[in-house]
């Protein structure tokens, strides 16, 4: 058995640093994403409601000023608060599930990031089945949500988790079908293959009218999959307190929070990779800019463009949130099964014909 321990040591010395580096990178991305996105969300919501948002916990000394960056330390303070809060496990709950479920959800989001690129060179692993992997892994979180709701032993949590699971599973179908359209057209599941196809031809969203529709179907389904308003019935405050998160607190709640914002980023990144040309610069796409501007390409510029697109999409998600009222459960299911699904099916057939014709 000495070979076993020798191998373990070898593993740690040879690959350990690499693996942990990747893991740390993903965790860092998730944490920074949550911090920035929460601040961004607060500011956007405040401006849309004619408020100013957090203005006090500044780190640049803008206390009380009417500057946009006031309160930039607010999310940091919130994170500290969450990490130092008491971790409450209700007496009658299923404690094993309560402890396990946040990690299932978190691992679901975490593993998904393995396949998500930040630019053509900046990604953890280059899969042949990249998009399929992302879609598959992002469906793991549902199990965690159901277990969280069940383990809480609280009716609101259970309702919230069942609603959430039903919603996520339902909206996976139109989202998957929309991406299938791209896969049919590009002929590959690989993210690099899809982006290269777009570099050769054009951004998918402008490829055909059906792809244009497919982008919106995917985006709406993505918003629904992340349980954001107007599709936030799983945690509808007015009905279910906080849905399946009701009984969670402290660090385990922070994990929910991290994975939720990570899911937002994943959806936006995937949408921009698949439909909006990924890390391709919009300059190259539109071909109307002078030649000298074309230097805005390469690994770092690619990351810039990809993140810019993703951030714009995240902003649109927030914009939705402060525009539309929450849907009822039946309206939610109506939208999924009777509007988005038929449209994406018709889209799929139509785009096949389109590909045959052109």
């Amino acid at each position: 058995m000495s070979g076993f321990w020798q191998a373990t040591m070898d593993l740690i010395t040879s690959y350990g640093s690499l693996i942990s580096l990747a893991g740390l990178a993903i965790f860092g991305v998730m944490a920074v994403n949550a911090l920035v996105a929460v601040y961004f969300e607060r500011k956007v919501s405040a401006f849309m409601q004619d408020r100013l948002g957090p203005m006090e916990v500044g780190i640049f000394g803008f206390k009380g000023g009417r500057k946009f960056w006031g309160g930039i330390g607010q999310t940091l303070a919130d994170a500290l608060k969450l990490l130092t809060k008491e971790d409450v496990l209700p007496d009658k709950s299923d404690k094993a599930l309560m402890i396990l479920s946040p990690f299932i959800i978190f691992v679901g989001a975490f593993v998904t990031f393995v396949g998500v690129p930040f630019s053509s060179y900046l990604l953890i692993s280059r899969f042949d089945i990249g998009i399929f992997f992302i879609l598959a892994m992002s469906s793991v979180g549902v199990v965690g949500i159901i277990l969280a709701g069940w383990g809480s032993n609280n009716k609101w949590s259970l309702y919230g988790s069942l609603r959430s699971a039903a919603q996520i599973i339902s909206y996976e179908i139109p989202a998957g079908l929309s991406i299938l359209l791209v896969v049919i057209t590009a002929g590959t599941l690989s993210i690099h293959g899809i982006v290269e196809w777009q570099a050769e031809h054009r951004w998918f969203i402008f490829h055909s009218p059906f792809a244009f529709i497919a982008f919106f179907i995917y985006f709406i389904s993505g918003v629904a999959e992340t349980n954001r308003t107007p599709f936030d019935i799983p945690e509808a405050e007015s009905e279910l307190v906080a849905g399946w998160m009701t009984e969670f607190s402290g660090f385990r709640w922070a994990l929910f929070f991290l994975s939720e914002y990570a899911n937002m980023l994943i959806i936006s990144l995937l949408a921009s990779v698949v439909f909006l040309g990924g890390w391709l610069s919009p300059m190259a796409m539109f071909d109307i800019f002078p030649e000298s501007w074309m230097i805005m390409d390469g690994a770092l510029w690619g990351m810039f463009w990809l993140l810019l697109k993703a951030i714009i999409l995240i902003f649109v998600m927030m914009w939705f949130r402060w525009t539309f009222p929450r849907l009822r459960v039946d309206q939610l299911m109506y939208l999924c099964w009777k509007v988005l699904l038929p449209f994406s099916l018709v889209n799929l057939v139509a785009v096949s014909i389109w590909e045959l014709l052109f």
Partner: protein, 586 residues
């Protein structure tokens, strides 16, 4: 199908429209932002006017404030407070002490020192109820009509409770000790002051003269009076002469837009009257030495045994008529004998060595003060009112007792109400005059209640009238009885029973000849054997009458029998029952 598509189209339309709307707000944020960054920016305080004509009703209830210089420690606000958030403690300086508590802006002589006046704003419910009873208008809500006294204050958030408990009392420890509140301090702190109170007294004695507010009090309007008093006090304290003060008052009123032509005469009055009151009884009191040591001082001794011994020695020494130093020596001796003398006790006893014992002089000053309550024996309401009015006027004028009596009599004569009885009563208000004729008063101890046993209302009224007349005339008991009997005889109402009753009122005349009351031990319960209710009632009545008249048992039985016989109720059975009263007696 068409509905399905039109639904989708309208959904898309409203989708874009909604997004446009929110985006407009997002872009216009600077123009539209309505949030106030509160701790850094504040709204201007709105004009508070809820529509009452009188400004003082438009009160802003933000915080209570107390002008502690005006507080007389009457505790009215404390009592008015429904949530008990006001806590006041007062110290009454000993009578005859030379500690002056000062004068309020309204001119009232303060009689208490207020060492504690705390308002717990965490408990206050802003009902404003404490504001109204204050006789000096020294407690008020800040801001609004009171903004001249204290500007509005509505942010007093704090991390702890203590900053929200406002302490208004400013009395220093030295002042408290000077006011004789040493035991108050000891109770509060549990320590003994190391300073001799007497030394402090001399340094802190207030020398401010009393202001003469009489003329200013003539203002009838409350607001005007307050304004005038303020100006008056300011002027008088600054040492201006009467004429200047009067002009100051006038200008203050004009400034406040309160001046009316009819006030001209009052202002003239102010100018002509002296600013300071002449040295009255109060100043005399001040000149008197401090009162003797108080036994309560000994309460600060913690050991029970020691306290007991010390108190015993104190009482013994006081009874022996010793002064403060003597008492303290006695206590010391007693404690040394008991082996209980500690430093603590010595420190307390030091405060005893105040020479002089003013109790006697105090008593005399109290006795010499005319007593308005004596006027209550005047029956006629009108006359009583008149008498009381002139009494008060005389008191205000600080007349002596004799002058007061003369004053009242004069007023009554003018009103054509003076009778001989009245004159007596009025004279009785002065203890000296009463003392001059002590004998009849003490001897006239007839009991009018005895007349209550007269059954006939008319007769009872007559008897009582003549009784009162006799009493007023300070007749002797015997004279009174004859007076009553004569009156009754004149009215043709005199029966033998009555005569007995009337005679019973004068124990000297009637009861003196008979057995003492304690011997009347017949048992009324024996009469309960009489079955007929009517007869029983009569018998009992007669029994009680006899008892009141302090008759002998034989007489009682005879009286009962006589009553029953009159009413034709004397049956054999009853007679035996009545007789049984006597049998058991033997």
């Amino acid at each position: 199908m068409s509905e399905y598509f039109s639904n989708i189209v309208s959904g898309l339309k409203s989708f874009t429209k909604g997004l446009q709307l929110t985006m407009q707000h997002f872009n216009n944020r600077k123009k539209l932002v309505a949030t106030l960054q509160y701790p850094h920016e504040k709204w201007p305080i709105p004009e508070r006017n809820i529509g009452f004509e009188l400004e003082e009703y438009n009160v802003i209830r933000s915080r209570l404030e107390v002008d502690i210089e005006d507080c007389i420690g009457c505790l009215k606000c404390e009592r008015a407070c429904p949530v008990d958030c006001i806590k006041i403690e007062t110290i009454k300086p000993p009578k005859g002490g030379d500690f002056d508590c000062g004068v309020t802006t309204n001119g009232t002589q303060k009689k208490m020192l207020v060492p504690r006046f705390s308002i717990d704003m965490t408990e206050c419910m802003f009902c404003n109820l404490c504001v109204f009873p204050c006789p000096e208008e020294c407690i008020y809500m800040v801001g609004g009509p009171n903004s001249s006294k204290h500007e509005i204050e509505y942010e007093f958030a704090a991390r702890e409770r203590s900053p929200l408990i406002f302490e208004f009392a400013v009395a220093t420890e030295k002042e408290i000790i000077a006011a004789g509140g040493i035991d108050y301090l000891n109770k509060k702190k549990g320590i003994v002051p190391d300073e001799k109170p007497k030394e402090v007294k001399s340094t802190l004695k207030k020398t401010e003269p009393k202001l003469n507010f009489e003329a200013v009090n003539a203002f009838t309007d409350r607001m005007t009076r307050a304004l005038a008093k303020k100006a008056f006090t300011a002027g008088a304290r600054a040492g201006s002469d009467a004429a200047t003060v009067a002009t100051q008052v006038k200008s203050a009123l004009v400034d406040a837009d309160k001046f009316l032509p009819e006030y001209e005469s009052i202002i003239e009055n102010i100018a002509s009257s002296p600013l300071m009151t002449s040295a009255g009884p109060t100043t005399e009191l001040k000149a008197k030495p401090a009162s003797g040591p108080d036994i309560k001082l000994l309460n600060s001794i913690t050991d029970k045994m020691v306290r007991g011994t010390a108190k015993k020695a104190f009482m013994a020494a006081k009874r022996a008529g010793k002064d403060g130093a003597g008492i303290s020596d006695d206590i010391k001796k007693a404690l040394t004998d008991a082996g209980k003398l500690t430093d603590e006790v010595i420190a307390i006893l030091k405060s005893f060595s105040v020479p002089g014992n003013s109790e006697v002089s105090n008593e005399s000053s109290v006795a010499s003060a005319p007593d308005i309550k004596k006027l209550n024996s005047i029956e006629d309401k009108m006359v009583r009112g008149l008498a009381k009015k002139s009494f008060m006027a005389a008191k205000r004028a600080k007349s002596s007792a004799a002058d007061t009596v003369a004053h009242i009599l004069k007023d009554l004569k003018e009103a054509d109400k003076l009778t001989a009885d009245l004159e007596d009563i009025v004279k009785s208000i002065v203890p000296d005059t009463v003392d001059a004729t002590p004998a009849p008063k003490t001897e006239f101890n007839l009991d009018i209640k005895k007349l209550n046993s007269i059954e006939d209302k008319m007769v009872r009224g007559l008897a009582k009238k003549s009784f009162m007349a006799a009493k007023r005339a300070k007749n002797s008991a015997a004279d009174t009885v004859t007076n009553i009997l004569n009156d009754l005889k004149e009215a043709d109402k005199l029966t033998p029973d009555l005569e007995i009753i009337v005679k019973s009122i004068a124990p000297d005349t009637v009861a003196a000849t008979q057995a003492p009351k304690t011997e009347f031990n017949l048992d009324i319960k024996k009469l309960n054997l009489i079955e007929d209710k009517m007869i029983r009632g009569m018998a009992k009545k007669a029994f009680m009458a006899a008892k009141r008249a302090a008759s002998t048992p034989e007489e009682t039985v005879a009286q009962i029998e006589a009553v029953l016989k009159e009413n034709d109720k004397l049956i054999d059975e009853v007679q035996t029952t009545v007789k049984s009263l006597l049998e058991n007696e033997s």
